[in-house]
Symmetry: D2
Subunit: 346 residues, 4 copies
Amino acid sequence: MIVVMQKDCTEKQIEEVQRRIEERGLKGHLSKGTERTVIGVVGQTYPELRDELELLNGVLEVVRISRPYKLSSREFQPEDTVVRVGNVAIGGDKDFAVMAGPCSVESREQVLATARAVKAAGAAVLRGGAFKPRTSPYSFRGLGQEGLEYLAEARAETGLPVITEVMSPGDVELVARYADILQIGTRNAQNFNLLEEVARSGKPVLLKRGFASTYEDWLLAAEYILAQGNRQLILCERGIRTFETYTRNTLDLVAIPVIRKLSHLPILIDPSHGTGKWYLVTPMSMAAAACGAHGLLIEVHPTPDLAKSDGAQSLTPENFAKLMNGVASVLQALGKRVTSVAARGT
Amino acid sequence: MIVVMQKDCTEKQIEEVQRRIEERGLKGHLSKGTERTVIGVVGQTYPELRDELELLNGVLEVVRISRPYKLSSREFQPEDTVVRVGNVAIGGDKDFAVMAGPCSVESREQVLATARAVKAAGAAVLRGGAFKPRTSPYSFRGLGQEGLEYLAEARAETGLPVITEVMSPGDVELVARYADILQIGTRNAQNFNLLEEVARSGKPVLLKRGFASTYEDWLLAAEYILAQGNRQLILCERGIRTFETYTRNTLDLVAIPVIRKLSHLPILIDPSHGTGKWYLVTPMSMAAAACGAHGLLIEVHPTPDLAKSDGAQSLTPENFAKLMNGVASVLQALGKRVTSVAARGT
Amino acid sequence: MIVVMQKDCTEKQIEEVQRRIEERGLKGHLSKGTERTVIGVVGQTYPELRDELELLNGVLEVVRISRPYKLSSREFQPEDTVVRVGNVAIGGDKDFAVMAGPCSVESREQVLATARAVKAAGAAVLRGGAFKPRTSPYSFRGLGQEGLEYLAEARAETGLPVITEVMSPGDVELVARYADILQIGTRNAQNFNLLEEVARSGKPVLLKRGFASTYEDWLLAAEYILAQGNRQLILCERGIRTFETYTRNTLDLVAIPVIRKLSHLPILIDPSHGTGKWYLVTPMSMAAAACGAHGLLIEVHPTPDLAKSDGAQSLTPENFAKLMNGVASVLQALGKRVTSVAARGT
Amino acid sequence: MIVVMQKDCTEKQIEEVQRRIEERGLKGHLSKGTERTVIGVVGQTYPELRDELELLNGVLEVVRISRPYKLSSREFQPEDTVVRVGNVAIGGDKDFAVMAGPCSVESREQVLATARAVKAAGAAVLRGGAFKPRTSPYSFRGLGQEGLEYLAEARAETGLPVITEVMSPGDVELVARYADILQIGTRNAQNFNLLEEVARSGKPVLLKRGFASTYEDWLLAAEYILAQGNRQLILCERGIRTFETYTRNTLDLVAIPVIRKLSHLPILIDPSHGTGKWYLVTPMSMAAAACGAHGLLIEVHPTPDLAKSDGAQSLTPENFAKLMNGVASVLQALGKRVTSVAARGT
């Protein structure tokens, strides 16, 4: 952090800034230029310090020169984190993990049929929502524990590990009993109590980007989980809110190379929520594969037009199989491969 | 909801749409034009129905013609909701309620001093955070129960009712024991489990707009609270996220006349978070008063440059007194008045 | 500008940065801390220098510490600019100028009727579009020179000076022959050739904010005009593009105190385009008056439902008269007044 | 367009709506449901009609059911437009055209060296700016005609056709004398006079998306060009403005499948401006190739750290060659190829 003083600042003001920096257990390094006096702050700073110093008399501006996240940064850990769930690897330079399944768990038959179909097409993880965050309280909000049981049954049959969302600290224990990966949804991306409770479960966590979170906000949210000692963390971009209304969100694929530069954490893409339209899911999946994503989160439903939620963005099993073929072609050209439970289980 | 069929749709496709509408317990009203066939959906629809119908063969587009929120709408309740907390009225055409206090409760002395100062200047409610949502896990996160006790003590001394934020369903019972109004913060604006738990406390609730929530998202979040039978609900605009970086957020004052048209709920403005800069707080407060806000939520700190959070946006007691004078002038010109505990207690 | 070097930078890299700074005619002031080496750049920098220096080896980050606009800044000119058009003053601490009229000039009768009505209600300037930027080429695009003639006739009759938009450098000479103030629309806010051509006309200019321009972009666009020697410049906020779809734009009233702090230029508000709905125009006008705007730009149409453009946001003469009353009340409470041609002409 | 009447509308109000529709040369098709009366508007509607009808008494809402652009739509022309410039094809299912070169033309040597390098790496078109739109008037604004001459010389030597930006209607004739493709920049995306003047030149046009233009705005801007009879039009996505500040813009790759669905026009991607950081250009180029882009616009500079504009986003010739290799691998996997002048010239 650098404190830039006003041109006409007094000696007393400079001393006051120095004193304040030292009170916070930091050091101030003074540099008087011909035009400006500048004070570098040395030590472990925190975002609020900026506000605090900017309010002092004689200060023109305070500029941050280091990023406020630590455990999630490449500086802290240069090598990629690889999250392992059973024999599925998520992260690193070779593997590409596809998680697929229905938006909501609606019935035993629906989950089992979808699980079989996505496994056959090469998915590595089964997704499905038992607790659903819905914009309107009048919408279908999931089967709860019954849904978790169906997911567990589908895992038992297919061998696919299960990812599912948890919405409330009070549900973490229950969901963690059934799921292999706990998902934090976009609306809870800054629900800090939930982040910490999920982290304490010890299970791998998938943290979606808030639909209005900057990369920095997102990595700071990740920090809440990592700081609890849980390093099994996967990030997932799912579209941000912009002025465009044709798509449900604007899927931000630039997040892939940016996050891979700033952080060691694996990054997945959710083009189903990211676009909101099934016919955009396959092209965006191929694009994600081409620019370095570690995998995908895809909505698949046996009969999308009967889905209780998000039908318009779900693929049929046939279209999902086509998506997997398209993605496999792109990955092969780059010397990468789709990770599958079966392939690695042998 | 209106289903617009494609020009070349078949009779069978029209029948399938009709059948689907009836399966959902609704009626389809068919209208064949020379160019287009259109089916009006009659009955209690829900947002997802749109996706569901748009996926059917032969359908061009489905357009919503009614708003998905009900209990919060003017149609449902034409007259203004007035929330009463002790002898303070929030809502309606005459009263303007100012809630003021520190962003975070930091110490007993700080809260008591601020409470006395804001009461003297005419505030009707004392605000102060005991549980603080912070973007970074390394920031100060509040005093918790100790903070609630200081707030209660300040209430006992000044007579000001207390508003404070609750961040987790597990904390609702504790916070409700101390506070007069429970606040839902912007990052929890779509934390639906929290909304319902807070509603069930039976206490008045202040629901901040999510920083990326549309008016419709916001009113649907309100619906979660109202649907639990708790009608003591206040809305609060606190800035939305845009491309502008000079201010912390873009404070959206248009929300005031829009919400007052769409809903019967009272609407307050938080210009402290909404702008992030103390010198913008007074002008925006006066503007809010001029266009029909029901009140303000203002950060006041005895020594903003020493505040543990959000110092840059806090007013000193002196500046807060000036703000109250400015607001009072505007209100007087409009035949309205600042509500104060004292004034009404007599 | 401050160049922050990487922790492990070499002496040679520091020298290269210093050399580059000197090549640009600037001076580098070196400061070696225990953790970081920092180089302050002294002299007249420019925005691109940041990119240039950030690319050099060993550089971590380059931070700007001064604003890139000059002639429009308060530092350059501490006292308010007051633009005078006939006997109407725009700017300063007392006067509030209302410019009103139809979105498009549609006929002689329409312009004359509207001019009389807005003058009667207290407007100081007549607005009206003869050249209309339209999103679609199939929309009505204005009467051109014929429209300018009607505006001139309305001025002759009422004494109201005229403001109208110019869209192309080739039209500046023509429009300047008729108009008293030349308006740059939001879609041309960064049409730099047009900005310069309009400035060279010597006429007062009203520059609307681009709907996706930051305050800095806007003041830099102003700089294009001021740098041509034309200081008769008025800024006008007219709504920015956000994720909200209920209103046509999000009117940003915070721009008023921000611009007044950063710049000496007068700032007007256009709540008609800023909201897109006539019933929001009056509350937002009153709010603008309460937080320091120097005036308004309002669409008035004798029969809004017959308007060829933007009918939904136009006020009837009756509603405009009510708006003027509401605004006058607010201004009076603040010791200000509506400027009118008549009042000052006597 | 569908007019939805209020529940309690009167017969007279319905008649008035019908009358207005007929006055506009359209037909109204009445449909009375049990709950709602709805009037379908048949004929060639225009965007403003919505506002006009919504203002009438008794009208609840007016909903559009057809898109306002015509000539640019897939409905108007189902097969892909392929723009031919010399022997380079832009558009269609096989070819991928890369346009590369410096942001600004700075000197004869710089242009010639870059032209040779990008041709060697497989570019099909040479880009370079002679007239530069700059946010600040104090930045380098291009060499003008001298720059055009250098570009023409580079074309003569390498055989690469030239694309360059034109900023003002008055410059179209001059630029068209030198360039093979005229480029409209993002800040002029709704400079309608310029769009029409450029169209009338008869030259192929590349139209960048406005940084705050929706897909619909963009296709309507395209309509301005097509409506002049010039069908040699290429679209180019270059990033939109969002709340994210890490990148200069948010590159929207979803635009590729969306535009290809809505329109027959070719779509290119400019990841240099779209991201603002050179290390993001190659991954986003590969992603663009994977999801169906027709080509790229890439900034290449022999010495990016000496560039007079946008150095931070320019590739060195070496990095550009790597980009071309990466893109070629992806294209090959999809049965597509990089178009090159040489390859096709034989």
